[in-house]
Symmetry: C2
DNA sequence: GGTTAAATCAAGCGATCGTTATACTCGGCG
DNA sequence: CGCCGAGTATAACGATCGCTTGATTTAACC
């Protein structure tokens, strides 16, 4: 594959990443992708097999960057002994939320895309997503379980999932225009960086006492 | 409007509510709605003006039921003095998550639809949503702010938004197949009721210490 | 230069999309 | 009875959808 072919492939991936993130999978036509990528429709079917194949490729590439960073950060954390809950949450959140700072505009697209994928209908994409990042996430889950000896593994897993979801929602700005105005929003309207807020809130999730068992 | 006309309208609303919740707005065609509702395509444009008008109507009806319940529960809570954080979170979560128990299968559709709306692209729907439930949510926000005197209003608002998002994600089962297998999932695979887990985790969000200020 | 395979293109396939114009049915009112 | 408006059904509009085909370009190799 020539260098120009790879360039075409990447232009398609870039366009799809942005548009899927902005309008969702079902809401994005292949024509829209080819237009913004300045590419012919057939190239999509040549490089990827179908629209879903394109989605898979985009998801793989998008997750790769944050997966690497998460592995690296966790390695670094573990060399200094068993990491605490807040350290783990911070590492996880920062690798997701700071994509913008680390990768510029592209990072924003990646973040939005990843967030969107988790909310899209059809569990197939979510499962692909889970499989793609399973290795990293498994490590974080294990570390969190070890850092929370008082909590059963199932409970930690539940809260871990919740953390992933919250991060996704914030990455796609789904919560931006949610609360009614005039209730303290104006205070932080010029929102600087929510990362620290997120870390604090998410750490609170893990530190909460265990829920009483409920008979099913 | 005759009684049969109202029946048609409701059949359309029911079908749209379910399908929008399952496949999303962009992923649901009007034909699919008319087929499951056993109605002609034109009736949609007669009763509602367009596809988006249908969405608005569905959103209004879906939110009405939980809004009422939330108002009622908060009233009841306030007559017994200022409610605590966990009480407030519980009231909010239960009214959302227990729709199934209170309304049967219909409740499941409502819950899924509401969850989906918050994750759909296009902020218009989210804003409509926020406007629709703004009154109730404002009350909860106020009560939470009063129950958390140590936290600035903006911080409470941020965490409140997070809570709404988490509840939505759980209502649409978006977090079900997320974590990799073999990490404590099997323990609670036969998931009974997550409501108590949710309440515990979400209460933890509000009880977390304030994040340190970060210079923007 | 001729051959071959990778890569891109224009054009169009059938299907389905949201939407609309039009005709029909039917109960209430004069 | 005739009329009318609310409500439903038929049929189709143009646009766009995901996807395919067949020709054309490009570059590497003998």
């Amino acid at each position: 594959m020539g260098i120009d072919a790879a360039a075409t492939r990447n232009r398609i991936l870039d366009a799809a990443e942005r548009l899927f993130g902005e309008r969702g999978f079902a809401g994005t036509s292949l024509r829209a992708v080819t237009t913004t990528a300045r590419v012919n429709v057939a190239s999509i079917y040549y490089h990827f097999e179908s629209k879903e194949g394109l989605l898979r490729a985009v998801a793989r590439r998008a997750m790769a960057s944050v997966s690497e960073e998460r592995h690296r950060l966790l390695d670094e954390l573990c060399t200094r002994g068993d990491p605490g809950v807040e350290e783990l949450v911070r590492a996880f959140v920062v690798t997701g939320a700071d994509l913008v700072r680390r990768q510029g505009e592209r990072g924003e697209h990646v973040a939005r895309f990843i967030g969107r994928v988790l909310c899209e209908p059809g569990p197939e994409v979510r499962r692909l997503f889970a499989a793609e990042v399973g290795h990293v996430e498994g490590r974080y889950l294990d570390a969190l379980t070890k850092a929370l000896p008082g909590l059963p593994a199932g409970e930690v897993a539940f809260r871990y999932r919740t953390m992933v979801g919250v991060l996704a929602l914030h990455q796609m700005d789904a919560l931006a225009d949610l609360a009614p105005p005039g209730h303290g929003d104006d205070i932080w309207a010029g929102r600087g960086d929510d990362t620290e807020r997120l870390i604090a809130a998410l750490t609170g999730i893990f530190l909460a006492p265990q829920a009483p068992a409920v008979p099913s």
